[in-house]
Symmetry: C2
Subunit: 393 residues, 2 copies
């Protein structure tokens, strides 16, 4: 009973902190999610220590971000994605190559050790779709072309990051680099996205009518939530992030007639569960390890590098949309997040990184997630009457 009570207290603290942080951020005209991440820093182990990330909270956080990307997918039609496919592909590819190359050179300059340097570089690669998606959703601009390019590119980006991680882990482990094996992984991942996206959409278009006669207004939601959780798991089985599966599930669900109703029903779910993702993201910053001059210097360089290279890559890839839109796409691709944190954790476990480099990479991932949203907010003027954000108090 005491354990359950302690958990309930943490749930309450996280939820309340997210509301307070979101409200304060709104007061100073920052996106709510920035306030929630900072609130996480404050209540987390580094400062107040009221919240310690542990498995049950991680589960809530995971479900929160899965639902968030599902809701984003729900506002994305496959036909829209097809239209921006070329730009998204260019942004995804260039936006991976530039940060990876720059990260490798920087890490090599710290300590000439290619396997380790490539590992560090892998942490620079993957955009966190969750943060950007939340900001775009909060501003009600998900249907703008830049938003769709960013989200499409984030999917491609995630596939490439997963492949790169496979390569650097193999190199670091000293094993032979099996090109054939990697090709299989790549084909599986791309195949998963294409097959699920196209086939699911096609099936939903033909089969969605049986949802219309449901005896219960919640039935369509239950069906698509089951699809969301199922595809989130299948995505992990293909080595992709769970959120990719959730995003695809949302895209499939957007073909039903209940689309608008589903979008409304998702709001309370996002309001309850996404704060766990953002607050826990913030709570993972270990401020103490960053207390040395060397660590701060590394962090400054790594963050600038992460900002500039992703911005440049995204900008180059999206240039055909015009310079301002290209800038928006570049900024939208900046946030790293859970993937950078996963790479850092793998590197620490494999003994590749010391504690400082680990803390620097985590802090870099989070700083990019805190820095980018305000600029994205400035660049994207909100439409009047835009739908307000989930999680905003």
């Amino acid at each position: 009973m005491d354990h359950a009570a302690a958990s309930l207290l943490q749930v309450f603290v996280i939820f309340a902190a997210a509301q307070a942080g979101g409200w304060l951020a709104h007061r100073v005209r920052l996106p709510d999610v920035v306030g929630q991440i900072v609130a996480g820093c404050v209540v987390g182990p580094s400062l107040l220590g009221w919240v310690t990330p542990h498995a049950p909270l991680e589960m809530l956080s995971e479900i929160g971000v899965v639902l968030l990307l599902f809701a984003v997918g729900l506002e994305t039609r496959l036909d829209d994605v097809k239209r921006i496919g070329g730009s998204a592909f260019a942004v995804g590819v260039i936006g991976v190559i530039v940060p990876f190359a720059a990260g490798a050179v920087w890490a090599h300059s710290l300590e000439p050790n290619w396997p380790r340097s490539l590992f560090v570089a892998a942490a620079f690669v993957a955009t966190s779709a969750g943060i950007t998606a939340a900001v775009l959703k909060e501003m009600g601009v998900l249907r703008r072309i830049e938003s769709r390019v960013i989200l499409g590119a984030a999917v491609i980006d995630d596939i490439l990051a997963m492949l790169l991680l496979g390569v650097v882990v193999a190199i670091q482990a000293g094993g032979p680099l099996r090109i054939g094996q990697l090709a299989v992984v790549a084909v599986e991942a791309v195949g998963f996205v294409l097959v699920v996206g196209w086939l699911g959409t096609w099936m939903m278009r033909r089969g969605a009518r049986w949802l219309d006669g449901a005896r219960n207004p919640m039935t369509p939601l239950m069906v698509v939530l089951a699809l969301c959780l199922g595809l989130a798991w299948v995505a992990t089985a293909f080595g992709l992030a769970a959120i990719i599966g959730a995003f695809l599930a949302g895209m499939i669900a957007s073909e039903t007639r209940q689309r608008v109703q589903l979008q409304e029903q998702m709001q309370p779910l996002l309001a309850l569960l996404t704060p766990f993702f953002f607050v826990l993201t913030g709570a993972k910053v270990e401020l103490a390890t960053l207390g040395t001059r060397e660590a701060l210097w590394w962090l400054l360089v790594a963050t600038l590098l992460a900002l500039v290279t992703k911005l440049a890559g995204g900008w180059l890839g999206a240039l055909r949309l015009g310079p301002r839109s290209a800038l928006i796409v570049g900024v939208g691709m900046i946030p790293r997040g859970e993937v950078g944190i996963v790479v850092a954790a793998l590197g620490l476990a494999a003994g590749v990184f010391g504690n400082t480099l680990y803390a620097v990479i985590i802090a870099m991932s989070l700083l990019t997630s805190i820095i980018a949203p305000p600029f994205l907010g400035l660049l994207m003027k909100p439409r009047s009457g835009a739908a307000p954000a989930p999680g905003s108090g």
Copy 2:
């Protein structure tokens, strides 16, 4: 990553099993929750073994039942409770005394050991408000007088059960029974319920207007959810079940002008999260330990005793409502659940119970929860146009 993937798979299995179980139950005219509990037995460790209860899933289950009782509270006005206070008190008190006495005598007949017998008896006492509330909510009869008596009595019942548990733990530990200390605990618990219920309602009636101007349609929900999580935790700090705090929070929130909107916004939350509570309840039945003739005999007697004594206690207490209503109240009080399971777990940990008695008490708690809902469904004819259930596929 593998850990997260495995957890996601379990989340998916639980959710999908709940939908399938609910759908099947509906087909054979049983309440959906019965289908969800049975689905839990099937996917749990005893049969398929697809789902193993662990901390993250318990957290989802806990949040699910907390939200469920919050939603039930949201449909309960304080003024209604006052009107049925006398009956609820009688049902609560008589419904505790009768099963406790009968349970003690039965346990004593198995093995003459009063401390142990009283411990067993404590497991017969507490009604699980969650199961009954879900059935009543599913049928759309929460506003009927019998429903309100049941829910009011469940609160009183929980307070008494908590006190009894304090007494039997003290007796079993061989320590002196400090009447003064128990009186303090009792006063705290009763005081918590009264102060929070009355004061919270009063404050909400006066202060709810500031919610009207919220910039975001989700703001009232966020505020009352924070209240719900906060009071759920405070209730545990007073030694009560978290769901008592959540119920009170819902009752307070029912005083806002956004009551109907909040009830609608709760539906998706209940649809996603309550299945975790019901499926995990079912998954905890250890069928293997019940394989002996002795165990089955004990289980039969214990279950009959639990059924008859609670039915009689509730019926006696509610007799002033007329015999049919008294019968409904009696049946509504039958389900035991999490509290019986907690008592059994305490008894196992303290070495009072062997494995068989432990399994019998758990199974008895669950059997009462499976047996009562169909009868409750039969006795309460659904109103036409009743609101459908959360979690029904």
